[in-house]
């Protein structure tokens, strides 16, 4: 498999770049609906981004180039990661054996730079956030790999662009329990990666209880815009990995499948909103338990795959 040269494979990227902030609006609207409020307008995230991008910046005297690099690297990694994820039956622009690992490690790279930027400020709160971030992600990474390994084994393939269309084929007839387990585990990974309840609460106001938000306390202006956009894009990209499991892409037409994918993403956003409205954030010491639970689900899925295979 090689690098795609025709325009079609880049379409999902364009969709992602354009539609990602909308996911956050959907989540916010859902939560507002549960709270009985009307919520911000759907285009509010775009407005926020524009506003931030047009501002100047204030930097801490403690910080170095590391702090300034953080948001740019974080955004780049998610954009490049988006280039690896297929949509519907469209293979990703970069599709090759093992691209799923590159996907995971790209997210890790972005995370490291966010963490380092946070530590660069010397602030105790940001240090704490950084600490929690690396702690929880150390536990999610093997879960994500295990989930993908299960799918890979099931589809005998080592590329996201092959796995996902194939998942659509066999999916729900012969491997329902397996897919449910994988999807559940991946949902937890998704929530953790994107710093959502029950792992993290993006809307809290108490620094001591934050993870992601506290890390970016000192950023402002275009840097903060990059970060906000990164968050949105990450929701979209990682969300696709879950939605892809449910969309039987090969049974639909190309455009139908694309549509289903996008709709699926918004359903996922609504689901996130529902979860955030009905659940409380876990206590920090309980988070690892949740993640290990996800690991257990993934392991079960793996064992099922083995059972089938042998």
């Amino acid at each position: 498999m090689m690098i795609a040269m025709e325009p079609l494979p880049y379409l999902p990227l364009v969709l992602a770049l354009l539609g990602a902030p909308m996911l956050r609006s959907v989540i916010n609207r859902t939560k507002a609906w549960f709270a009985g409020r009307r919520g911000p307008p759907l285009l509010q995230p775009y407005r926020d981004l524009r506003k931030l991008l047009s501002k100047g910046a204030v930097y801490s005297r403690t910080t170095t180039w590391m702090f300034r690099m953080g948001p740019a690297v974080g955004l780049s990694t998610v954009i490049v990661a988006a280039l690896l994820v297929p949509m519907a039956t469209i293979a990703a622009p970069f599709a090759f054996v093992g691209d799923l690992f590159l996907f995971g490690y790209l997210l890790a790279l972005g995370r490291l730079f966010t963490v380092l930027a946070a530590l660069d400020t010397g602030s105790p709160f940001e240090g704490m956030g950084a600490n929690r971030e690396v702690y929880f992600s150390a536990l999610t990474e093997p879960v994500l790999l295990l989930c993908l390994a299960t799918l890979a084994r099931q589809t005998d393939s080592l590329s996201l662009s092959r796995i996902y269309p194939a998942v659509g084929v066999f999916s729900w007839s012969d491997a329902t329990p397996l897919l449910v387990l994988v999807a559940a585990a991946m949902l937890i990974v998704f929530l953790t990666e994107n710093a959502r309840i029950p792992v993290d609460d993006p809307t809290t106001h108490l620094e001591l209880t934050m993870i992601h938000e506290v890390m970016v306390l000192d950023h402002g202006g275009p840097d903060l815009a990059f970060i906000e956009y990164t968050v949105a894009l990450k929701l979209w990209v990682v969300g696709q990995l879950i939605v892809g499991i449910f969309v039987p892409a090969t049974q639909l037409t190309l455009w139908g499948a694309m549509l289903a994918d996008v709709v699926g993403l918004f359903v996922l956003a609504v689901l996130v909103g529902v979860v955030e409205s009905t659940m409380a954030r876990l206590r920090m010491p309980n988070v690892p338990q949740l993640l290990l639970g996800a690991g257990a689900l993934a392991a079960m899925a793996w064992l099922l795959v083995l059972q089938v295979g042998s």
Binding site: M1, M2, I3, K55, A57, V58, Y59, S60, R61, T62, M69, A72, S76, T77, I79, L84, F94, F96, V97, G98, D99, F101, L102, Y105, L106, L109, L112, L116, A118, L119, D120, T121, G122, S123, P124, F125, G127, M128, A130, N131, R132, V134, Y135, S137, A138, E141, P142, V143, L145, L146, A149, A152, R153, L158, E207, D218, P222, L306, G309, S310
Partner: protein, 664 residues
């Protein structure tokens, strides 16, 4: 081959010369380093042929050693093939760079003559290990390397912890060598000769293959620092001068892998070995990085991560063994390629990290991360290269660490998919171990970079630090560039590994080359282009950001403290608290001793909590074992009670028993 040998001789002679002019430290250093450099150049020229594929060369030293060892029939022979040449390259490149660095590092030391002498002997003997064709010579070179490095480790023997560390190292090296002695004895007995390189073929199944393998694994694994054989390493690496730590970790630990690789060519791989390697490798990987996390000593933390990386190599070899025993040659090629590539990568980034840590130590006088901080401002170059090293060791794209871990992950997935139960489980184990380890490595190095280089200085010595000299910078910069270059040039690197792997698998290099080429085409080339795209995106975004901020107001302020403005450096998050939650989660695996003094009374005094993480293997395995041996031996001490009458009784009883046994 003559070139190679003369290169090594030059090295040793330069060492002797350095010892001779020890009264003029600067001259001694210059002589020794130029000896290492010119010797390495000569030796690599000699080895070049082997790496590029001409027939293995042989060279017989002399019959002198042959006669010292009564039985080995071809003692004293040196030979080099592609596998040896690969390791020779790693050893000599690392050592040369470390030597240049050492020249700057030891600048103000006075007692450098002996230090340089041992350094040169160490480098030469490591090279001898790799080119020894005769097991006996191998052992001699092996022990010589251990011995010379011991003297380097204890260079600052006025400190008690250095003496202790050195001794632990010595004991570990000796015990490891004892297992190798058993291995070679059995090899000699069953193969009829001690040839390592120019052997006739793998040993038949009549030999006690499993016993031999276990002996070799323990012996070589000790040098590599695989868990549970690692405790010496975390003692010795930190206390050694940093250029020596770099050589120990970057070059010497690889000799353990070299040994294991040789063993796989000498003995027919068996499936249980795959399990052993996977098990040892995965537990090394996870446990070592877990232990690296809470360390306060920067070099100790890096040392633990050395054990982690060698564990990764062991897992790669384990997968290779599985693929070989199942006859899946293609998979074996890729697994071993991943392993060898990781050997080279680890040599590059671990050397880099140790050198940078040494620069830090020289600039600040401490390695305690709780006393460092804010150094990126003060030592921009060293900080940047340390960051590169950290990125590489966390296996983040597009650096070299990612390349090898990527290959390994693909192999593991492939194993899990294509090889039937129960071997496919091994693939899963590798995936899980690598996943967990890379997450933990990220945490570990985020902590090291963040606490040491970023934020505000935590002590006066840290705030007074300034950048080190060019002699120390240059090798680090070279290594940092190598991290990126290997990461982006992986497909071409792999084609260089073709012949070493062919030797390792005892097959033709065409087959290996074909497999590697297909693998490169299927994924590695694309990985590289993604890396390039990533690089481009980052640059583009940075430029965009710069352009946007160009005409706007950019101001400086103190860090936002949530309203608290009187911040000081003491308020920062500490390294210990950064590590605490994770170590707490894995508490059953990590023993610790804590001392707590709670506030009591109406006017409580200051409360105190002290917590030390201990090494589980040391704490639960070696310490009790040594205690048992010690007390067991101690309980026999009454034998020598000082009573002469009973001494006579010993003689009589011996006599009577022997008479009765002999005559009756």
């Amino acid at each position: 081959m003559i070139l190679l040998v003369s290169g090594l001789v030059v090295m040793v002679l330069a060492g002797v010369a350095a010892l001779g002019c020890r009264r003029i430290p600067r001259l001694a250093g210059t002589i020794a380093v130029s000896g290492v450099l010119s010797g390495s150049a000569l030796a690599l020229m000699g080895a070049f042929g082997a790496l590029t594929g001409r027939a293995p060369a042989r060279f017989t030293l002399s019959t002198a050693i042959a006669s010292a060892n009564a039985l080995a029939n071809d003692s004293g022979a040196l030979a080099i093939d592609a596998l040896g040449a690969f390791f020779l390259l790693v050893v000599l490149v690392v050592s040369s760079l470390a030597a240049i660095y050492g020249l700057g590092y030891l600048e103000r030391n006075t007692r450098t003559g002996a230090s340089w002498f041992f350094f040169n002997v160490l480098v030469a003997s490591m090279a001898f290990v790799v080119v020894a064709d005769d097991g006996f010579l191998f052992l001699i070179a092996w022990e010589l390397a251990a011995l010379s490095s011991y003297f380097l480790v204890v260079q600052h023997d006025e400190r008690a912890e250095v003496r202790r560390a050195g001794w632990v190292y010595l004991v570990a090296a000796h015990v490891g060598a004892a297992f190798l002695v058993v291995f070679f004895v059995l090899l000699g007995q069953h193969a009829g000769s001690l040839r390592l390189v120019s052997l006739a073929g793998p040993l038949s199944n009549a030999a006690p293959l499993h016993v031999m393998f276990v002996c070799a694994l323990i012996g070589f694994g000790t040098k590599a620092g695989l868990v549970p054989l690692h405790p010496w390493l975390v003692e010795a690496y930190p206390v050694a001068p940093s250029h020596v730590s770099a050589v120990l970790s970057g070059a010497m630990s690889k000799l353990g892998i070299y040994g294991l690789a040789r063993v796989l060519t000498l003995l027919d791989p068996q499936e249980p070995w795959g399990w052993t390697l996977i098990f040892v490798g995965s537990s090394s990987t996870v446990l070592a990085i877990l232990l690296a996390l809470p360390q306060r000593d920067l070099k100790r933390s890096i040392a633990y991560s050395s054990a982690e990386n060698l564990g990764i190599v062991a897992m790669a070899m384990g997968l290779g063994v599985f693929a070989l025993t199942r006859g899946n040659q293609g998979l074996a090629v890729v697994a071993l390629a991943g392993g060898l590539l990781h050997v080279a990568n680890h040599a590059v980034f671990k050397t880099l990290l140790f050198l940078a840590a040494g620069a830090l130590q020289k600039a600040t006088g401490t390695l305690d991360i709780e006393r460092l901080g804010g150094l990126l401002r003060r030592m921009p170059i060293t900080g940047a290269v340390f960051l590169v090293g950290a990125l590489a060791i966390c296996a983040l794209p597009p650096f070299n660490g990612f390349a090898s871990e990527f290959i390994l992950l693909v192999t593991a997935f492939d194993t899990a998919i294509s090889i039937p139960f129960p071997v496919d489980l091994s693939g899963l184990i590798v995936v899980l171990a690598l996943g967990l380890a890379s997450g933990l490595a990220l945490a570990c190095f985020a902590r090291l970079v963040g606490i040491v280089w970023l934020g505000e200085p935590r002590s006066d010595s840290a705030s007074a630090a300034c950048e080190v000299g060019f002699l120390m910078q240059a090798p680090m910069i070279v290594l940092a560039i190598a991290c990126l270059a290997i990461g982006l040039g992986v497909p071409w690197m792999l084609s260089g590994l073709e012949r070493p792997i062919a030797v390792l698998m005892n097959t033709s290099s065409d087959m290996v080359g074909g497999v590697l080429k297909r693998f490169s085409a299927a994924s590695l080339r694309t990985v590289v282009s993604v890396g390039a795209v990533l690089f481009g995106t980052i640059v583009a975004l940075a430029v965009v950001r710069k352009l946007m901020l160009r005409d706007r107001e950019v101001s400086q302020h103190v860090t936002w403290g949530c309203g608290y403005t009187a911040t000081s450096s003491r308020i920062q998050y500490t390294g210990s608290s950064f590590a605490e939650p994770i170590t707490e989660l894995f508490a059953p695996l990590i023993p610790h001793e804590s001392r707590i003094r709670l506030p009591t009374g109406t006017l409580p005094e200051a409360a105190e909590l002290e917590k030390h993480t201990l090494d589980p293997c040391e704490h639960w395995l070696y310490a009790p074992a040594f205690r048992t041996i010690r007390s067991g031996l101690g309980s026999l001490r009454w034998i020598q009670h000082g009573r002469i009458r009973l001494y006579v009784l010993y003689i009589i009883v011996t006599l009577l028993v022997l008479l009765a046994w002999n005559v009756g």
